[in-house]
């Protein structure tokens, strides 16, 4: 299936917005970026999963802001509603449902060792990807006009060119629904 | 009789077996079904034998394109080389259903599948088809041994399965190599065995794949020193499986050598024939001597079978017409003698609950008919003139002498080695005094007697009047040495020790 069916020439002349907007957008980016990284770091470091989850929500919200900066209006909304809203509240509900006490948590005495080791292992991967990114053209990211990233445009794309994968996703969502009921729904009869 | 006789012979038992496995049939129904199907195969086999015209080339050919882009086809046919192996596979199995009446459903179903797969492997004229049937053939044996075998069956089953599959994989590699070489030399794909003879193979790679083939078949035959799976497997397998293994499957190994190695790798075979022939002779002596130390009747016969297979394999490696014809003849003779002996041992075991030579004795006095049948099969297996065993053995020794005097002389010792353990066994089991184990030994029932009678008669007829049988084989074996392989004739026909023994070929 041809994923690039038509030339979407939506880009407007955006120079009149001026340097200040770009500066402002850059500031916003850096702010969100820092918040996202901090949140992610918190997720990795907090001992209690509830703290981690709260911290992760911060990251998700910051990411939603970044999507907005990238003119992805629908994804911005979905990120807030589905991710930060639905998925994370599900996680938090489960964490609270299990009523985890600090003594239930694993004793991770060697956590720091693993963290540092992990960082070292991960380093080449990151560097490699950085190198890859460097080979790409670098464009500025000013807001694109109304014809990009809205519900209508993405919806048209979704239902015209991605209909079958979309339906598959529907089935995919059905499967864990059933699976979750089967797995978690038992009342320990088998014990 | 009709066009697709071979396909019917292959797929009738396989399909019946699969259907039996899937339906909740009782063991009695399974046995009757198996018996009927095997009798049908027997009738088809006899019909095929009668209509076999002995032209020397493939007859009853069926050919359908299967994977045309790679030149793989569903290609079946019978000629003088596989006719007798086919007969062994199609005529002997009804006995098993008649003699072993109380086994499980899966036992009979597996037996059917084994028969179909063996017939398929024997008739296949395409290497890929051959390989597929070759592998299918092992599966029923795996299940029969693993499910219905003796007390130590699991290690034996695993050993035979892994050992054989290891060999098969080598063969697969060699088959692919042949196909690719054919493509490289003739710029078209083909896996037909008859096309491979046109290949011009030389160099290290060809030698490597030559040994791949040889090892695959050597494991199945089994050729010394690849025989170590055999004693355990033959002993632990249920008697019917032992019978199938020794009477037919081992022969398919020999047949494979004749079919694949002799025409295709003629140069390599000529170069290494002496090595392989020695392996056959050493195996014959080694297993024959080991047999004398056995206390278990079945294990002794297992070694005896391995010993005879060494001689049969030797006949193939001698690369002259007498030895090759003798080998093919001996294939049937061995199937009817040692194969039947295995069945007899199964009978002894079921009547006395013992297979130990020391627990038995005096059966001849209690069961004269049984003793007579056993003695005839035994004498055939030691190659007494007047039985089928002599013709094949003598032709092989004759050919071996031409090939190499010392190989021939040592091959001749089979006359002595075989007799030593067989007589010892016969003495301890059938002669001497009866004991509580054997004092109530019942003679063959009418059904059993009538079951074995045709085979016993066949042993004698094939020994006294072998010409009609030999004349079916010789046209094909003559073609094998008809001059299309001059290299072979020159390399091998020179007997270094006695140049006078070399008869010039025109």
């Amino acid at each position: 299936m041809n994923c690039w069916p038509q030339k979407v020439r939506l880009l407007k002349k955006s120079t009149k917005k001026g340097a200040l907007d770009i500066m402002f957008a850059d500031w916003l980016f850096f702010t969100f970026a820092v918040i996202a990284v901090l949140g992610a770091t918190g997720l990795v470091l907090f001992r209690h999963p509830l703290n981690g989850a709260m911290s992760f929500i911060v990251t998700l919200i910051a990411l939603a802001g970044l999507y907005a900066l990238l003119s992805a209006k629908l994804i911005f909304a979905l990120q807030l509603i589905v991710y930060a809203g639905a998925i994370m509240s599900l996680i938090i509900i489960i964490i609270m449902f299990l009523n985890i006490q600090p003594e239930d948590l694993p004793h991770e005495e060697t956590k720091w060792m693993y963290l540092i080791g992990g960082a070292i292992i991960v380093m080449p991967i990151g560097l490699f990807m950085v190198k890859m990114v460097r080979t790409l053209p670098n464009i500025s990211t000013e807001i694109v006009g109304n014809n990009f990233g809205g519900v209508k445009e993405v919806g048209i794309q979704l239902y015209q060119n991605w209909l079958i994968p979309f339906e598959f996703i529907a089935i995919l969502l059905l499967v864990p629904l059933v699976g979750a009921v089967v797995l978690a729904g038992k009342r320990g009869k088998n014990k | 009789m009709f066009e697709h006789i071979l396909s019917v012979m292959i797929f009738l038992p396989i399909l019946t077996g699969v259907i039996l496995l899937m339906t909740p049939a009782s063991q009695g129904i399974a046995r009757i079904t198996g018996l009927l199907v095997s009798l049908a195969i027997l009738i088809l086999g006899i019909d095929l034998y009668v209509h076999f015209a002995a032209t020397g080339y493939l007859e009853f050919v069926e050919k359908l394109a299967w994977v045309p882009s790679l030149g793989i086809s569903y290609h079946l046919g019978v000629d003088g080389i596989n006719l007798f192996v086919l007969m062994a596979a199609s005529l002997l199995l009804p006995m098993v259903y008649l003699v072993f009446t109380t086994r499980e459903k899966g036992f009979y179903a597996n037996l059917l599948i084994a028969q179909g797969a063996m017939i398929g492997a024997i008739c296949a004229a395409d290497m890929v088809l051959f390989y597929i049937f070759w592998e299918i053939m092992l599966l029923p044996i795996f299940f029969m041994m693993g499910l219905y075998g003796g007390p130590k069956r699991i290690p034996a089953t695993i050993k035979i399965t892994i050992y054989t599959i290891a060999g098969s994989l080598l063969m697969l590699a060699a088959i692919v190599y042949l196909g690719v070489s054919y493509h490289a030399q003739f710029n078209e794909w083909s896996f037909a065995i008859s096309d491979m003879a046109k290949l011009n193979l030389s160099g290290q790679t060809a030698i490597l794949f030559f040994f791949c083939f040889i090892i695959a078949f050597a494991i199945k035959i089994p050729l010394f020193p690849f025989h170590t799976w055999l004693p355990d497997a033959y002993t632990e397998a249920p008697t019917a499986a032992t019978f199938v293994l020794s009477a037919i499957m081992a022969k398919i190994g020999v047949y494979g050598v004749i079919r694949f190695v002799v025409p295709v790798f003629d140069e390599q075979l000529a170069r290494f024939a002496i090595l392989l022939a020695c392996s056959g002779v050493v195996g014959m002596m080694y297993c024959g001597i080991a047999a004398i130390a056995q206390k278990d009747l079945k294990r002794m016969l297992a070694f005896s079978s391995a010993s005879h297979m060494g001689i049969i394999a030797l006949g193939v490696f001698c690369m002259n017409m007498q030895a090759l014809t003798g080998s093919i003849y001996q294939i049937v003779a061995h199937a009817t003698s040692v194969g039947v002996l295995f069945l007899f041992v199964g009978l002894i075991e079921s009547r006395t609950n013992s297979r130990s030579i020391e627990d038995l004795g005096g059966i001849a006095a209690k069961a004269p008919v049984f003793a007579l049948f056993f003695a005839i099969a035994l004498l055939a297996s030691v190659g007494l003139p007047g039985t089928s065993g002599f013709i094949g053995e003598f032709l092989i020794i004759l050919g071996a002498i031409k090939f190499n005097v010392w190989v021939g002389v040592f091959a001749g010792t089979t006359l002595i080695i075989g007799v030593c353990y067989m007589l010892y066994m016969f003495q301890r089991v059938f002669f001497e005094k009866t004991n509580p184990n054997t004092s109530t030994f019942k003679d063959l029932t009418l059904v059993e007697g009538l079951t074995f009678l045709p085979v016993i008669l066949l042993i004698i007829i094939m020994g006294i009047y072998p010409h009609p049988f030999l004349s079916k084989i010789t046209p094909t074996t003559a073609l094998q040495f008809a001059g299309d392989t001059p290299v072979v004739a020159q390399t091998v026909a020179t007997n270094a020790l006695f140049p006078e023994l070399t008869i010039e070929k025109k």
Partner: protein, 98 residues
């Protein structure tokens, strides 16, 4: 600049990896995986912006859907494991040990 978004994506992804391999808490591990998914989504959106093409957005939606499905299933599994062992330590579950 678009590169910055991609760099951020890489940083988040690497943090996710570190979280998976360094932590033993089931929830943290799970959320680290979610973090990696989010890093992926960010990269997708950035590329969509780079090419000014909305396929990236569609893919991002799909990833979210997968994440949601995964969350449902994974949490069900966590509940089940907690029922059996009353532990949230990944090291407790070592049935694959050779």
């Amino acid at each position: 600049m678009i590169h910055n978004y991609l760099f951020l994506s890489i940083i988040l992804f690497c943090l996710g990896i570190v979280g998976v391999i360094a932590r033993r808490n089931v929830f943290t591990v799970f959320m680290s995986i979610e973090l990696m998914l989010n890093a992926g989504i960010l990269a997708l959106i950035a590329f969509a912006r780079l090419h000014v093409h909305m396929d990236g957005h569609v893919l991002a939606m799909m990833v979210m859907a997968v994440a949601a499905a995964e969350a449902a299933l994974a949490l069900a599994v966590v509940i089940l494991l907690h029922k059996h062992k009353s532990k949230l330590d990944t090291n407790v579950f070592s049935l694959l040990k050779g």
